[in-house]
Amino acid sequence: MSVVAIAVQSLAIAWLLGGWLLDVAGIMPTVLTAVIGGLTVFFIAIVASKELRSS
C-alpha cells in the first residue's frame, strides 16, 4: 500500500503539467495531450502484461 500511495501522488504532477500546458498551449491541446497520453499508457500496459490482458 505504501507504493500505491506513492503512485497516487502523480495527481500532483497532473495538476502541474495540466496547468502549465493550459498556459502555453490552451484548452484543446491540453485535453488532447491528456487523452492521447492516457490511452497510450493504458495500451502499453495491456500489451506488455498478458496477466492484465486476461484478467
Binding site: M1, S2, V3, V4, I6, A7, V8, S10, L11, I13, A14, W15, L17, G18, G19, L21, L22, I27, M28, T30, V31, L32, T33, A34, V35, I36, G37, G38, L39, T40, V41, F42, I44, A45, I46, A48, S49, E51, L52, R53, S54, S55
Partner: protein, 196 residues
C-alpha cells in the same frame, strides 16, 4: 461505499461553497469550511477506540522497500502500479482543465461552476451504484478499457463544447468512468498482493 463517500463529498462540497460564495462572499465559504473542519474534529475525537486487525512490521522505508521487492517479483502488480501512476498523470490533467473551461469558455457563475463538479460527482456515484447492483464487471481488462474510452470520449467532447448544459452531461460521463477504473485497479491489487 468506497466510491460513494468521496463522490458525495465532491458533489455537495463545491455546491455548498458555490452557494455561500454567491449569496455572501469567499470569506463566508472559508468560515464555513473552518466550521466544518471543527465539527469533523469533534466527531473524530468521539469515535470509539479501535485496534487495527493487522499491524505492519518495520518502518515506512522498510515497507516501501518490501513493496518494491514484491513488485519486482510480480510483474502484473508492476503494470497495475504503472497504470495507476502514469495514467493519472495524463487523465488527471482534467482537473485543472475543468476550471479553465468554466472560466474561459462557459463563463459560469460560482453556483454553475459548483454544479459542474456536482455533475462529475453524480456521474461517479451513479456508476458506483450501478456497479454495486450488477456486481461489477467480471473481466478487469474490459472494465479498464470501458473506463478509459468513456473518460476520453466525454473529455474530448467537453473540450469542444461551449454549451453549459452539454458540459454537465459530459462531466457526468467522465465521472461515471472513475468507479470502473478505480474499483477495478483496487480489485486487481488486492487479488495479486498478499496482506503482508
Amino acid at each position: 461505499m468506497n466510491q460513494l463517500g468521496p463522490s458525495a463529498g465532491r458533489a455537495f462540497g463545491p455546491l455548498l461553497a458555490g452557494i455561500l460564495i454567491s449569496i455572501r462572499s469567499v470569506t463566508a465559504a472559508c468560515f464555513g469550511l473552518t466550521a466544518l473542519y471543527f465539527v469533523t474534529v469533534i466527531v473524530t475525537m468521539r469515535l470509539p477506540h479501535s485496534r487495527p486487525t493487522f499491524v505492519q512490521k518495520g518502518s515506512a522505508i522498510q515497507q516501501i522497500g518490501q513493496g518494491f521487492g514484491h513488485i519486482r517479483k510480480t510483474p502484473v502488480v508492476f503494470w497495475v502500479i504503472f497504470l495507476q501512476a502514469f495514467s493519472l498523470i495524463f487523465f488527471g490533467m482534467a482537473f485543472p482543465v475543468i476550471p479553465a473551461i468554466a472560466v474561459e469558455v462557459l463563463d459560469t457563475s460560482e453556483v454553475q461552476f459548483a454544479w459542474m463538479w456536482g455533475a462529475f460527482a453524480f456521474g461517479q456515484a451513479a456508476a458506483a451504484i450501478v456497479l454495486a447492483i450488477i456486481g461489477g464487471i467480471k473481466r478487469s481488462a474490459i472494465s479498464l478499457l470501458a473506463a478509459v474510452l468513456l473518460f476520453s470520449v466525454f473529455f474530448v467532447f467537453l473540450g469542444l463544447t461551449d454549451n453549459y448544459w452539454f458540459a454537465l452531461v459530459f462531466l457526468f460521463g467522465m465521472g461515471a468512468a472513475l468507479p470502473l477504473w478505480g474499483a477495478t485497479l483496487m480489485t486487481l491489487l488486492q487479488h495479486f498482493t498478499s496482506p503482508e
